[in-house]
């Protein structure tokens, strides 16, 4: 039994534990215990992975295991990780951990909330560990559907509309995806050879005909791109995030949107390099648009969550943008951006949730001078803001710089010009971040009732500090993680060239 399967097993046990938990106390105990365990497992995985690599294990994927599942279609339950997936696993574990604390006082039906949250995390973990298209896709959808109830039941605002829209749009994505995957499967092997769902084998066979790649690449890329909030399929994100409860926004923006980026190059680009080369320019334009577009529309929003959602559109657009540059550095940047954006947007949503929980409004025009009332939260918010506008020493900077430098190494003029366009986003980001910080935290207290509000409680502090520490750690010592990623990207990049 491969230890990666624990990533799926532990949450299942966690669900069982939650099911038998009776009161809030026990629920919290179970949640904290298991999410900590999960975090430990993730860290262990990273260390083990690094050790293996250090030991000179040059396999593309480590800790592989594969058991036949559906014999007639040659579907396996196959797991394995490379640098990218371990990074993502770590990210997920961290955010789930922080999310548990962020939803410490969730009401009502707290048990169900954690059950659904755990189901969601099962999907995410499973997606990141599996290297079989079918299981990957299955976990992908497992991760999607709990969103509906999580938003619908525990959400706020026009939650029904948002939840339905989010679910349907993402399902639309996975509909395209299913066709794409089936198409890949039926062209996965040369004539006579057995068809396979295993990503590595498909890549090894490299048998997908070029004309089919033209058809399948857009399907898969858009399918995943919808979850990656690619223009013009991003509109689920603002409403969805605005209505979602704190922990869900954290997990969704922090991790779930990364499924999109991860899938885009693990499936779309990795398996169909030819089409990736040929068609990248189309999606480059789209993603380039969403980078700038998202930033611009964030400038005029007044709802904190909308601002953050649009900035997520912009940042995740940057991820896809970098992936499409198809060179090692840019892709490394993309993965680092996933990581950093995951952490800092989770931090953002956590803080917004905490502030909202106190002021009961997310409209920046109705708030002000929070720095005097809740200094801790405000300082954290400033840090998150600085991270997202790319302050050196925080994770955002290294990710963005890697992307920009990497993208600018592209030999094609068109790509370089687009890189410069994308660069402009850092200025716009500064504009809307500082706008929020100025309106929300500085200045005089807008609403006198806010004066008697309290600062963060210990669990909120814990949740925020965890994320800040990670953001700063990556920002200050990016070397090891960037090596970790770029080493495992070599194989993919080789296929592209």
């Amino acid at each position: 039994m491969n230890f990666l399967s624990l990533f799926v097993l532990i949450p299942i046990l966690m669900m069982a534990g939650l099911a038998i938990a009776r009161d809030m106390k026990q629920i919290r105990t179970v949640a904290v215990a298991f999410s900590t365990l999960q975090l430990g497992l993730a860290i262990y995985t990273v260390l083990k992975y690094l050790a293996e690599r250090a030991a000179g294990n040059a396999e593309e994927m480590l800790f592989q295991a594969s058991t036949m599942w559906y014999e007639p279609l040659n579907i396996h339950y196959a797991v394995g990780v490379d640098g990218i997936s371990v990074t993502m696993l770590l990210l997920t574990a961290i955010i789930v951990f922080a999310g548990v604390f962020a939803s410490w006082k969730i009401e009502p039906l707290s048990k169900e909330f954690f059950l659904w949250l755990t189901l969601l995390s099962i999907g995410v973990y499973g997606f990141f560990i599996s290297i079989d298209l079918f299981t990957m896709f299955m976990f992908y959808e497992v991760a999607l559907i709990p969103m509906y109830l999580l938003i619908g039941v525990w959400g706020s605002g026009k939650k029904n509309y948002s939840a339905m829209k989010l679910t349907l749009m993402l399902m639309g994505g996975s509909a395209l995806l299913m066709l794409g995957i089936l198409g890949i499967y039926y062209h996965s092997a040369p004539e006579g050879a057995p068809l396979t769902m295993n990503i590595l084998e498909i890549a090894g066979n490299n048998a997908i005909p070029h004309d089919w790649q033209y058809f399948l690449f857009p399907l898969t890329f858009v399918g995943f791109g919808i979850l990656g909030a690619m223009f013009p399929f991003h509109t689920w994100s603002p409403d969805g995030h605005a209505s979602a409860p704190t922990a869900v926004s954290m997990l969704h923006a922090g991790v779930l949107m990364k499924l999109g980026g991860y899938g885009c190059f693990r499936v779309a680009i990795y398996l169909m390099p030819f089409a990736a080369q040929e068609l990248s320019w189309i999606f480059l334009i789209l993603t380039g648009i969403s980078v700038v577009y998202g930033a611009f529309s964030a400038c005029v929003q007044t709802d904190l969550k909308y601002i953050n959602a649009y900035s997520s559109v912009s940042h995740c657009g940057l991820v896809l943008f970098a992936i499409l540059m198809l060179n090692n550095t840019a892709m490394t940047g993309a993965v680092m951006q996933m990581l950093s954006h995951g952490l800092m947007t989770a931090l953002f949503f956590a803080l917004i949730g905490m502030i909202y929980g106190r002021t009961h409004t997310r409209d920046i025009r109705e708030m002000g001078g929070l720095m005097q009332i809740m200094p801790f939260l405000s300082v954290c918010y400033v840090i998150a803001g600085l991270a997202s506008l790319g302050l050196p020493g925080l994770s955002g900077f290294v990710a963005e710089m890697t992307i920009f430098v990497g993208s600018f190494q592209h030999t094609d003029m068109f790509h370089r010009v687009f890189t410069i366009v994308a660069c402009c986003s850092i200025v716009i980001t500064a504009v809307y971040i500082l706008r929020v910080v100025g309106k929300l935290l500085y200045g005089a207290v807008q609403n006198e009732h806010h004066r008697e509000l309290t600062d963060a409680t210990w669990w909120e502090r814990l949740s925020a500090v965890t994320l800040i520490v990670c953001v700063a750690a990556i920002g200050c010592f990016p070397g090891w993680i960037s090596n970790l990623i770029s080493n495992s990207l070599n194989a993919i990049v080789e296929r592209l060239s």
């Binding site: 400038c299 050196p392 990497g406 190494q409």
Partner: protein, 637 residues
């Protein structure tokens, strides 16, 4: 000289310590700690300078530059990687001295000035952060490290300007400062990208060692008619212009005066704002291969110098006056760099001069600001109208301020005279037009500085009825005195021996023709100022009325800020952001909703199919069958 790394680590440690313990510490303790840290830092810097400048020169008489420490921080490609390290050469060491000195003075000064302020600890934390970033910037071994610390100084300046975060003006100012510089930094970043794409390196040593590499690499590559190399360097200069508040990116600096005065002294007079000059100086050999960019630099500098000088003449807020004088003085340095050239020592005079002026200016401008701080501290106002005749109440401030004014006006034997003279010589040598231009600016400088001086210390003999201004405490006067002394002697430092364009010693010899002219001009300007402002009278207002339009325009800074406001709010926000947001909500999102609505609509329209009558069901069934048959037959035939 590995210990130099502590020059960076110490302030960083201070920042973390003070920042994390924030209110856990007593204000006093925090202040003392910060100051001590900076003292040690300064000592180290001085020791480094001593060690560096006293080391044996090599064959062609150049002081060899040292890289005591360099560690790969982040690797992009096999060529491109960000290193964090320390690169010691004459100018960086000179900057180390300047920064630590001024920073230390400000630390001490703030003990008195900021006494009892809310968030005293935070203030010192930010000061340490700034010092760390600034020091990191000057010792950068590669352009990307410089960019990193460049951003960090930007942020710490943002935090310090917005120190009084309940004051709307301060918030606005800090936001403006950050965004404008950020915009400039975008140029810097793109410049770096282009440069590194062609030269395949970030490293200063490599870049400056083979400056022509970029030309050979980018051979033929042009964009909009200019060679890519020029683009890259111009964009990089844009970054510098932003930080150094060159026209038209200067708008943030006057507003930045909303911050605490010591901060203005440290960041917006002595150190951060000269980062641009330093950047150009750092890449000077590379700039020399693209003369057109140097032309650009000269022009920008000259225009800024004149513009700022004119505006400074009519401002009534003393800190604003100083701010504009800063802009104009930095413009001097920029111009000096622009006219210089690295072919030989004499051609490179401007380079040396600008560095020299940077050094002296840092001292006396810091002195001016700290003096102004003392005055504001006493009068509780920035407005000239509130002041006048302060000389008898605060003698020390008065004397030191006068020295500084003389220095900046270019009166021998004060430091300003020597450095400015070198600059004028260099400019004159390059082109007479710019030479005269800059001399005029020098005259204006003398005028507005003494206007300021007389308005503050003479003008009217108020024996202030409501409250008597009193001399500042020792913690504040001590730095004033120290800086004043430096200002007096700095001119006699054999600067050219240490810093010159190609590192060989250069013996400063005054070009008396230039010197005398400038002195005469200055004296005239000063006496004019004295004639106008020594005693309270109506002449100034009369003159103002005489040149009403010009005066107002100058007072409103020639409406540059208004233009910016118009562009940002009216055009970018109203005409780009808002429409995009609308488009997103109504068009893109609307399309998505439309799918749903259309489905609903269709399903509502076709419900009649399910009429509930057996016969219609049967009818449809039959027709369906026959239709299928018919269509299929048609397809077959």
């Amino acid at each position: 000289m590995e210990y130099t790394v502590f020059i960076l680590l110490l302030p960083l440690a201070m920042f973390l310590l003070l920042g994390l313990l924030d209110s856990k510490l007593k204000p006093r303790v925090a202040g003392i700690l910060g100051t001590l840290g900076m003292t040690v830092c300064t000592a180290l810097a001085y020791f480094t300078a001593y060690q560096f400048f006293t080391q044996p020169r090599n064959a062609e008489g150049v002081i060899p530059s040292v890289t005591p420490y360099n560690y790969e921080w982040l690797r992009f490609t096999e060529h491109l990687h960000i290193d964090l390290g320390i690169y010691l050469d004459p100018i960086s060491v000179m900057m180390l001295v300047v920064i630590t000195t001024v920073s230390l003075m400000v630390h001490i000064y703030s003990l008195g000035y900021m006494h009892g302020e809310k968030g005293f600890q935070r203030y010192y934390a930010f000061l340490s952060l700034f010092s760390m970033s600034m020091l990191g910037l000057v010792v950068a071994t590669n352009i990307f490290q410089m960019y990193i610390f460049w951003e960090l100084v930007g942020v710490s300046s943002y935090l310090l300007i917005g120190f009084y975060y309940t004051k709307p003006a301060a918030i606005a100012a800090s936001k403006k400062a950050f965004i404008v510089t950020r915009f400039a930094d975008l140029g810097f970043l793109i410049g770096i990208l282009i440069l590194s794409f062609f030269t395949k390196t970030f490293d200063f040593a490599t870049l400056t060692a083979t400056p022509t590499a970029i030309i050979t690499e980018t051979a033929g590559a042009t964009f909009l008619g200019c060679s890519v190399a020029s683009w890259a360097l111009a964009l990089i200069f844009m970054g510098g212009a932003g930080k150094s508040a060159m026209f038209p990116l200067h708008i943030w600096l006057p507003d930045a005066m909303e911050g605490p005065t010591p901060v203005s002294a440290l960041i917006h007079a002595a150190t951060m704002v000269v980062a641009g000059v330093y950047l150009v100086a750092r890449l000077f050999p590379v700039y020399c291969v693209t003369p057109e960019v140097l032309e650009l630099i000269t022009t920008v500098g000259a225009i800024t110098a004149l513009y700022a000088a004119i505006v400074a003449c009519v401002q009534t807020d003393i800190k604003r006056v100083l701010a504009f004088s800063t802009i104009s003085q930095i413009a001097f340095m920029i111009v000096a760099l622009g006219v210089a050239n690295d072919t030989d020592l004499h051609e490179g005079l401007g380079y040396m001069a600008s560095m020299f002026h940077l050094f002296t200016h840092a001292m006396f401008k810091a002195l001016l600001f700290l003096g102004a701080g003392a005055i504001i501290h006493a009068v509780h106002s920035n407005e000239m109208s509130e002041m006048g005749g302060l000389r008898k109440y605060m003698p020390i401030t008065h004397i030191t301020f006068l020295i500084a004014c003389l220095a900046i006006a270019g009166i021998p034997p004060f430091s300003g005279f020597f450095s400015k003279d070198e600059i004028l010589t260099a400019v004159m040598h390059k082109s007479t037009f710019w030479g005269i231009w800059m001399t005029v600016v020098a005259g204006l400088t003398a005028f507005y500085m003494f206007r300021l001086y007389f308005r503050i210390f003479w003008w009217k003999n108020t024996d202030c009825s409501h409250h008597t201004p009193h001399e500042a405490p020792l913690t504040m006067t001590l730095p004033l005195i120290f800086l004043a002394l430096v200002t007096c002697v700095a001119g006699f430092i054999p600067f050219g021996e240490l810093v010159s364009v190609n590192g060989q010693p250069y013996h400063i010899h005054l070009d008396w023709s230039v010197a005398t002219t400038s002195i005469i001009v200055a004296v005239c300007a000063i006496s004019l100022a004295a004639w106008l402002y020594l005693k309270e009278n109506k002449k100034p207002t009369a003159m103002a009325d005489a040149t009403r339009t010009l005066h107002t325009a100058a007072y409103r800074r020639f409406y540059i800020d208004e233009i910016y406001l118009f562009v940002t709010h009216k055009i970018i926000f109203k005409c780009i952001c808002a429409p995009i947001a609308w488009f997103d909500r109504h068009i893109i999102d609307g399309t998505m909703d439309m799918f749903a609505n259309v489905t609903q609509w269709v399903s509502a329209r076709i419900k009649g199919l399910q009429s509930g009558y057996i016969q219609s069901y049967v009818w449809i069934l039959l027709m369906g069958t026959l239709l299928i048959a018919a269509i299929t037959i048609c397809c077959l035939l």
